[in-house]
């Protein structure tokens, strides 16, 4: 590392015309430790509002200013959550929900990628596929629920199908749009080096669409979590959505809030995993992504 840095310096000395650019770039780019120091306090700032509200409410209930029956204080929510975790119920429900999202996401994302790639790369196929898919997209996905129940029964298949439908459209649109917006200038570089269609797809189109594909997959995953709740509302005996319905019917707002928190954590965890697993693929991007 040190030796390469040194050689860079001597390289600057010999090619004087560029030394100013390189010097400026070196000055402008902060080291990673510097970046971390700058961002630390801002991350803490984000905790301020929710923590303050939670403490205020906790105080209000403790000092008898509020009853806390309809809106339970944080301590009771945490107690419910840990009780659910201790009996193992929470893990069963969370795992069930996660499994449904995962299967639905895989089916929806795969078909979205395949159809999006087809419709993005061929004018004829786009004219064949896109109108139908756009028409289907105009249907609110929840409207499929009665039909899916009739067709696929009330068990897993209909739930997974609903999630897959929810995931499919953002992925399809994202992939097709990403392929259509690949820079013509880079494609021409491929032409100049006489790449075949397959080579062009592999060496230029695929890497070029990856960043947008990741974004499409992320929004697909987000919708997957949205639709799993709807799916579990329509009759489930397991899953975090079931905890919600059960909490409502039994009058247990703390259980509802515990399930909501579990949903939030699960969703965030899945999204972070997706981002982390795709990060090496889009490392080259020249964007502000690192800050997001």
């Amino acid at each position: 590392m040190i030796s390469s840095r040194e050689s860079a310096v001597t390289g600057q000395a010999t090619s004087s015309a560029w030394s100013s650019h390189e010097g400026a770039a070196a000055l402008a780019a902060p080291t990673s430790t510097e970046k971390r120091r700058v961002f630390d306090w801002r991350i803490l700032l984000g905790f301020f509002l929710p923590v303050a509200i939670a403490l205020l409410w906790e105080g209000a209930v403790t000092f008898g200013l509020a009853e806390g029956r309809i809106v339970p204080p944080p301590s009771r929510i945490i107690a419910t959550l840990s009780a659910l975790a201790e009996t193992g119920e929470l893990w069963t429900h969370a795992w069930m929900t996660l499994w449904r999202v995962l299967v639905g996401f895989l089916i929806g994302a795969l078909s979205g990628i395949v159809l999006g790639a087809l419709s993005g790369s061929s004018q004829t196929l786009r004219q064949l596929l896109d109108p139908t898919l756009q028409a289907l997209r105009a249907i609110p996905s929840i409207a499929w629920v009665p039909l899916f129940i009739l067709w696929l029964g009330i068990f897993e298949a209909s739930k997974v199908a609903l999630i897959a439908v929810g995931v499919f459209f953002p992925v399809y649109l994202g992939i097709a749009g990403a392929i259509l917006s690949v820079d013509r200038k880079l494609v021409e570089v491929g032409h100049v080096f006489r790449l075949s269609r397959v080579q062009l797809a592999r060496r230029i189109l695929l890497p070029a669409v990856l960043p947008e594909a990741v974004i499409a997959l992320r929004s697909g995953l987000g919708l997957g979590f949205m639709f799993v709740v709807a799916a579990e509302f329509m009759g489930a005996s397991e899953g975090l959505g079931y905890l919600l319905v059960d909490g409502q019917q039994m009058g247990k707002p703390d259980q509802i809030l515990a399930a909501i928190i579990a949903f939030a954590l699960l969703g965030k965890l899945a999204d972070s995993l997706l981002v982390a697993s795709t990060k090496p693929l889009v490392r080259w991007q020249d964007t502000v992504r690192e800050q997001l």
Binding site: G11, H21, V189, H191, V192, F193, R194, R203, P207, W284
Partner: protein, 262 residues
């Protein structure tokens, strides 16, 4: 030898970008295509590169008619057009997919040395300055050892210092294999610095107005009188190409002969 025979290009919207271009570029010659905007310089280059098809006429390279992108033709675009997901090394090696790893490494390393980019081999294009990116682009075109190298105003977006230095890098690479070079530029100084012959083009429709040989010895002294004279000759021809469509280019050639005489 690269030759154009009655080459014409009319775009789908009816724009006549090129009309009846006849020109022969000898092996190892550097020809500068110069002219105002819209005179078809870039169109001509895209036809040679095989990125567009000619409407009439043909382009021949050593007797072979070009019908598409050709392995012996390399191009450097106006923008670097590097692939942002490849390192500098891999960008330069992009056109060497068919070669063995060691051969690839040897060629790329040599190109890196020639363009002064050795210490940047593992960096992303986004980390390079504009001049460095364009050097990578030039190296990418040179590593395939093209017989014909097309340069589409590759230095137009750079500052004067960077440009002068890139001219040196370019001539350094050119000296090794001496490919035929077709350089499109609107910078007269650049044409006189690099080219053996300046071809002045005229717009609407794009066609050749005049040709001026540049017989100055290399390396060229940009401050010398011969350099200045050549620049002025091209400027005059450019002036005529834009202003007086009816004037005979022959007169310009006479004047140039007179200039050579002393």
């Amino acid at each position: 030898m690269l030759s154009f025979e009655h080459l014409s290009k009319t775009y789908a919207d009816g724009t006549r970008a090129l009309s009846d271009i006849n020109l022969t570029v000898h092996e190892g010659e550097i020809v500068a295509l110069i002219g105002g905007s819209g005179c078809g310089k870039t169109t001509l280059l895209r036809l040679i590169a095989g990125l567009d098809r000619e409407s009439a006429g043909r382009i021949r390279l050593d007797g072979e008619t070009l019908t598409g992108p050709h392995p012996a033709v390399g191009i450097v675009f106006q923008e670097p057009r590097l692939l942002p997901w490849l390192s500098v090394f891999d960008n330069i090696a992009f056109g060497l997919a068919g070669l063995s790893a060691s051969e690839k490494k040897q060629r790329v390393t040599h190109a890196l040395e020639k363009t002064g980019l050795v210490e940047h081999a593992d960096r992303w294009p986004r980390d390079l300055s504009g001049g460095q990116q364009q050097r990578v682009s030039i190296a990418r075109a040179f590593v395939t050892n093209p017989k014909v190298l097309l340069l589409d105003e590759p230095f137009s977006a750079l500052d004067a210092f960077t440009r002068a230095s890139l001219h040196e890098h370019l001539l350094g690479l050119w000296e090794e294999t001496r490919p035929t070079v077709v350089l499109v530029t609107h910078d007269v100084q650049e044409a006189v610095t690099l080219a053996d012959r300046a071809v002045v083009m005229r717009p609407k429709p794009g066609r050749i107005f005049d040709e001026l040989p540049l017989t100055l010895s290399r390396p060229r002294d940009r401050t010398g009188l011969p350099f200045e004279t050549s620049v002025r000759r091209i400027l005059t021809a450019l002036d005529h190409s834009l202003k007086a469509p009816q004037e005979q280019p022959q007169r310009e050639r006479d004047r140039q002969a007179a200039a050579l005489w002393w």
